[in-house]
Structures are given as structure tokens and as C-alpha cells.
Subunit: 204 residues, 2 copies
């Protein structure tokens, strides 16, 4: 068992190093040897765990998505009010960005730099993430509080795009607004735009 | 004069070739020599017009933004109703994507692959584009029809992110929705979320 644990720890150590190197140098300009140096392992060790640099990015993304999925499910657990669920989903996305800027930069900026990743990777966990939001919208429609004419798929994709763009802007230090202000505005627009009757956004 | 015209035509011919090559191979994997071949010019000719591949991307983007800016201003010219202005702005963005998929793919996907571009280019024309939308929101606030608590900068950035994500999804052929459906949903959410009183979206 300790062999499995040691292997898992080493894998995590390499992924943490890759996060720092990708965020600092950009995915395309990062070398596997730099990730090895940052992780304090031999170059060859990386290839015992990962096929190549693309594989590092995919596994980094999948590990992160696993944490996000479990985090957002925990946050939503026990919450039954649709407006509150929408707010929690958005706030959880915000917390991720605030808690690890390097990781957030990779998810928002660097991920798009891998042509292979964008064009070939089916990205099932990201689909799962969007589906959580689409399900909240669908549930609101079933309860009759969210407009029937809203397309849950379109809205979940649009929300992700909006949040991603705001966070990207914020990460690059160009945003002349705080993340809390961003969230308040998105809350306000979504709650006013999605619901049959307008309700003020609920805040934490 | 004909020398100036010939130079402009050659420049446009190279930019059109770059559009095709970038869209097909991705920015990072495209070679200047491939762009030259596509344009039917010698490799060295490219460097009479552009400093390097990054410069090609920047100039392609700036030329495109000039066309978009003039197009959206023409579309809005003479329109005084705020809801209609918002709809026209969104619809104009849609028309660009529909009219040139290669160009749209570069603007939405490839642009983000240039680390230099993303991190160092101040992107003034894109700022101008977002400012047009921010001004519409501001105008609506001055007229008292759009909620005072909305931050026009946040909303214009969020709208761009939402549209970009929807179009990216659509371009990659993964969208299980039409572009018209995307626009209808964004219209509905924005008009419901931004305005003091809910109004149905106006359609073309």
C-alpha cells in the first residue's frame, strides 16, 4: 500500500510543479525538463507517470475538475432553493480562482493554448460540471420558477463563458472591478433574466 | 497611387492566406512559409509587410476589429431604443461568425494561443468594441431603464465571454443548439436581467 501512496504522492508533486511552470511560462513555452527541475525529480521520472506534456495538461485538468466537481456538489448538498443554488454555483467558481491563481490561470488561459486539447479532447468532466448548472435550470423550469423558453444547455455554456472572461480579465490585472462585484452583477442578471418573476439575488 | 494600392492589395492577400492557414493548422503550428505558399508569394515577401508571425496575427486582428467596429456602428446608427441597440449589438456579433468561419475561429480560438498576444498586447480596438456596449448600458442607466446597480464594464466583458463561448462551442461543431437559439437566450436573459422592468426581447 505504501508503494501506491508513494506513487500517488510523486504524481501529485509533478502535477503541482507543472501548475507552477505552465502558469509562469505558458504551456507552449514550458519544457518537461523544467517541470522535472521544479518537482525535484529526474526528467525520466516524469515519463513514468505521464506520456508527454499534453498528457500532463489533461491529467492536471482532470484532477482539478474532480476537485471542483466534488466541491460544488458538497456546496449544493442540502440546498433546495433554486436561486440559492445558482448563487452557490457561481460563488464556488469564484472561490477556486481566488484560492489558487496559478491553477486558475491554467484553466482559463493555458488550456486554450493546447490545440490538441481544444480540438480532440472530449472533455467529459467539464461537461459534467456544466451539466450541474443545466440541471439546476431544468429543475427551476420543472418547478415553474424559471422561464420555459430558456435553453439550459445554452445558459450553462454562456455562464461559463461569462465567468471565465471576467476571471481572465481579473487574473491579468486589467479588471477595474473586484471579483465580488463581478459575481453580484452576474447574480443580478441571471436572477432577473432566468426567473419568471424578478427576485433580488441572495448573497452569502 | 497605384503603388500604394498594389501594396495594400498584397498585404490583404497575405492576411487572407494567414486566416486560412491559422484556422486550418492552428497559430502555433502554422509556418510563415506555409502562409507565403497559400498567398502565392515568396517567403521573403511576407517580411516586407509583417515583422513576424505574431505581427501577422496582431494585424489580422486589428484589421478585423476595424471592420467589426465600423459594421456595428453602422448597425446602431439611427437606432435610439436601448433594447433594440442591445439586440443589434448581439446580432452583429452573430453575423460575423456566420459570414466567415475561419476568421471567427481565429478570433475565438487561435488568438488565445498567442501567449505574447494575450499577455502583452493592450488590445485597444477590442476595448473600443466593448466600450460600445458599455455605452449602451450607461445610456440606459441615464434614461433610468437599466438598473443603476449594474456595472457596465462587468456586463460588457461578461457578454463578450458568453457570446465567445457559445460561438466557440458552435464552431467546434459540438453545440446542440443553433446560433439563433443562442442569441434568443442571451437576449432574453440580458433584457430580463438588465432592465428595471422586464420586456420581451425584440427580434430582427
Amino acid at each position: 500500500m505504501s508503494g501506491v501512496k508513494a506513487r500517488n504522492d510523486k504524481r501529485k508533486q509533478i502535477l503541482a510543479a507543472a501548475t507552477r511552470v505552465f502558469a509562469r511560462k505558458g504551456f507552449y513555452h514550458s519544457k518537461v525538463s523544467e517541470i522535472a527541475a521544479q518537482a525535484g525529480v529526474a526528467d525520466g521520472t516524469i515519463y513514468l507517470y505521464f506520456k508527454n506534456k499534453d498528457d500532463l495538461l489533461v491529467q492536471l485538468f482532470e484532477d482539478t475538475m474532480d476537485r471542483i466537481l466534488s466541491g460544488v456538489r458538497t456546496a449544493l448538498d442540502g440546498c433546495t432553493e433554486i436561486r440559492q443554488k445558482i448563487h452557490l454555483f457561481i460563488a464556488h467558481h469564484l472561490q477556486l480562482v481566488q484560492s489558487d491563481r496559478d491553477l486558475a490561470e491554467i484553466i482559463t488561459v493555458e488550456l486554450r493554448q493546447s490545440h490538441k486539447f481544444m480540438k480532440e479532447y472530449a472533455n467529459p468532466k467539464f461537461g459534467e460540471y456544466l451539466q450541474i448548472f443545466a440541471n439546476i435550470v431544468q429543475e427551476g423550469q420543472d418547478l415553474g420558477v424559471i422561464k420555459a423558453e430558456i435553453n439550459a444547455r445554452v445558459v450553462s455554456r454562456a455562464l461559463f463563458g461569462a465567468l471565465n472572461e471576467l476571471f481572465l480579465y481579473w487574473l491579468m490585472g486589467r479588471g477595474k472591478f473586484t471579483l465580488d462585484e463581478a459575481i453580484r452583477n452576474i447574480d443580478e442578471i441571471l436572477l432577473g433574466g432566468l426567473f419568471v418573476e424578478h427576485t433580488s439575488p441572495c448573497h452569502r
